[in-house]
Symmetry: C2
Subunit: 384 residues, 2 copies
């Protein structure tokens, strides 16, 4: 079905062959000792990935389901929350909060620009009565390729002392450091089809002790996403509802691959891949949607002016079988996005850069043949 396809969108991402093989085993019973052992192993791996000793819970859900769980378990109707909005996902979390009757105040920046930590500082400092119950931030905004300054925003949340820090780490976890304990993050949500290098279908929510204290009094209704049940059963290496056991097989294998590589090496590889793409785009004289200083290690958004973004995508798919992403909502047709996340590394970046060069040339964009690949090789030669 997809024999020729090279998937370089910001999720689902490429899946290593050994992970696909692990997933294709016969299912096991989820109330068996085999499953308990599997659950114990992947839970330990998830703690390693999150750099935490806190609970990391596994849901049968997409990343959006994980974020919903990460929000509704710790809040009550009418609670005041600050939500950072500078792209499709930030806006989605604001919509989600409104659907659950939270009192949402958005802190915005244009799509393609980072959130300003000072905007958070101002709101939080003014909240002398401590009515702000949570701050919700999308770390890596997949729709634009912006990496928000989570650490700086979180410092202001820590200074506030009451609000929970709830993080969408869907395309940042496994691509750049999200040291939950060191930074003191309260809720970190992610999804399997990103840095995890496995297919979509699992959501993850890491929960701090401070967040569990809030859970005890939170009143939003919940059942399938009631994280207390996942914590209770997780303590016995079990799950409250039937887990997607084959995706757990995949998770075990991918966590083993990640641990073999090591977190610093994984982050460095993502940084290199991102830098390669951006060097090539610069060599071609194409504008990036967002400044390099705040660019995500997971995805690069290019906003071409001399060629149509959708024509680039179509030709790249047709001629080379490479799938990259387009823009979402008002950026539809205006940008293309290259995923350099998870298993996609230097080799895939050389591939897509070379192929893009061919496509851009065909579409009439003025460039020096080989300039993009040359710039990427220069990055490879000089980066750690």
């Amino acid at each position: 079905m997809a024999d020729r396809s090279l998937l370089l969108i910001p999720g689902p991402t490429l899946v290593p062959a050994s992970v696909l093989q692990a997933m294709a085993q016969h299912p096991i019973g989820h109330r068996s000792k085999e499953f308990s052992d599997l659950m114990a192993e992947v839970t330990a791996g998830l703690r390693w990935l999150h750099q935490t000793t806190s609970d990391v819970l596994i849901l049968a859900a997409s990343g959006t389901g994980a974020m919903e769980a990460g929000i509704i378990n710790f809040l009550s109707p009418g609670d005041r929350v600050l939500c950072g909005c500078n792209g499709k996902f930030g806006e989605r979390w604001a919509d989600l909060c409104r659907a659950f009757h939270l009192q949402v105040e958005t802190i915005t920046a244009p799509w393609g620009q980072p959130l300003n930590p000072d905007d958070f500082a101002e709101k939080l400092a003014a909240d002398r009565d401590k009515t702000i119950k949570a701050v919700i931030v999308t770390h890596s905004e997949t729709s634009t390729g912006v990496l928000n300054d989570l650490q700086a925003i979180n410092r202001h949340v820590q200074a506030h002392g009451q609000a929970l820090m709830i993080v969408d780490a869907v395309t940042s976890l496994g691509a750049t450091p999200v040291p939950m304990d060191a930074w003191g993050l309260d809720v970190v949500a992610s999804g399997s089809q990103k840095g995890y290098m496995i297919p979509p279908g699992l959501g993850f929510v890491a929960v701090s002790e401070r967040a569990w204290a809030a859970y005890a009094t939170a009143k939003l209704p919940k059942f399938y996403f009631d994280l207390g049940a996942y914590r209770r059963d997780g303590a016995k290496h079990s799950t409250p509802f039937t887990p997607p056991v084959n995706l757990f097989f995949a998770l075990r294998q991918s966590l083993q691959l990640m641990q073999q590589e090591g977190l610093p090496q994984i982050f460095a590889r993502h940084a290199r891949a991102a830098a390669m793409v951006r060097a090539a785009v610069a060599a071609w004289g194409l504008p990036l949607l967002c400044p390099v200083a705040c660019a995500s290690p997971a995805v690069t958004a290019v906003a071409p002016t001399t060629v149509a973004a959708e024509e680039v995508r179509t030709l790249l798919k047709k001629q080379f079988g490479i799938a990259i992403a387009g823009g979402q909502d008002h950026l539809k047709g205006k940008i293309f996005r290259i995923g350099h996340l998870g298993f996609a590394g230097e080799r895939e970046m050389l591939t897509v850069i070379a192929a893009l060069e061919a496509v851009l040339q065909q579409l009439g964009h003025p460039l020096t043949p080989g300039s993009g690949v040359g710039a990427a090789l220069q990055v490879l030669a000089t980066s750690p």
Copy 2:
């Protein structure tokens, strides 16, 4: 990891090799034409399986998630609902309704006995003001092996004229007829790891036009499980959130296998497998938990008195690598359950019956060697 294991629990069920292979393909982008084509194909297959022209929506969730979606989308806080409770899953839906502040009235029967349709008739007939908004029934109660008389209960719901009929069809769909349109069911929820013959991770909710009318005024908060979003995007062969694309690959293959076999043939095969097991159990002189007249085509619960249920399970696993299920909650240690659901058919039943005979003999249960297999063969020889 499970090379020797034969999984005969009532879910996860056995997965055909071609389905495992289909699942082990590289993921595709979920906003691609390939995915739209896939979505259109599986949606048509799901309508065929549900015998409906209504929407059948696909969620990244377990069967419990599908039931939650099937309940919260059509009701408002304080709504009065009747919930049938004669096993673990019926009780779970009552708990779920309470978590969402519905006014729940349970209609109960002992675990192992069927719900009495007259009990529903009485409550519904007495409701002249039409305050009952929904009736929730678990068709096949997986925890006990009882098949509730959904058709009879539903006739009373139809006579009421206002209440929605919400059905947990998790272990009945694909094992016995659940003709949604012919019976006029409003919401039918199911999960992938059962009759579908694919691993866990997908939930399905079929929704009637009458249920969509209730959706328009339903006030329970929802976002990830907001079925209106799935319907809207489904009309474009898309999904609101990232779908588990590899499980969709599996679903396409399993629906093709099911369509090749045909619904009447699938139902007849399940009936044969169930009858084989029950004939063997009778030949051994072991009691069934529930009367044969109301026994599920998906799972048989045996309540041995001469041997310990858990010793049967342990020895069967150790000596033959066959996994069967135990009892849940207060039935723990008192019953064992054999799944004859999905891909598990006559061959697997002969296998488990022969192996059980060996195990029962070892544990000292008095039986005539070969009597169980002989009884099963007699069923095979005489059943259509």
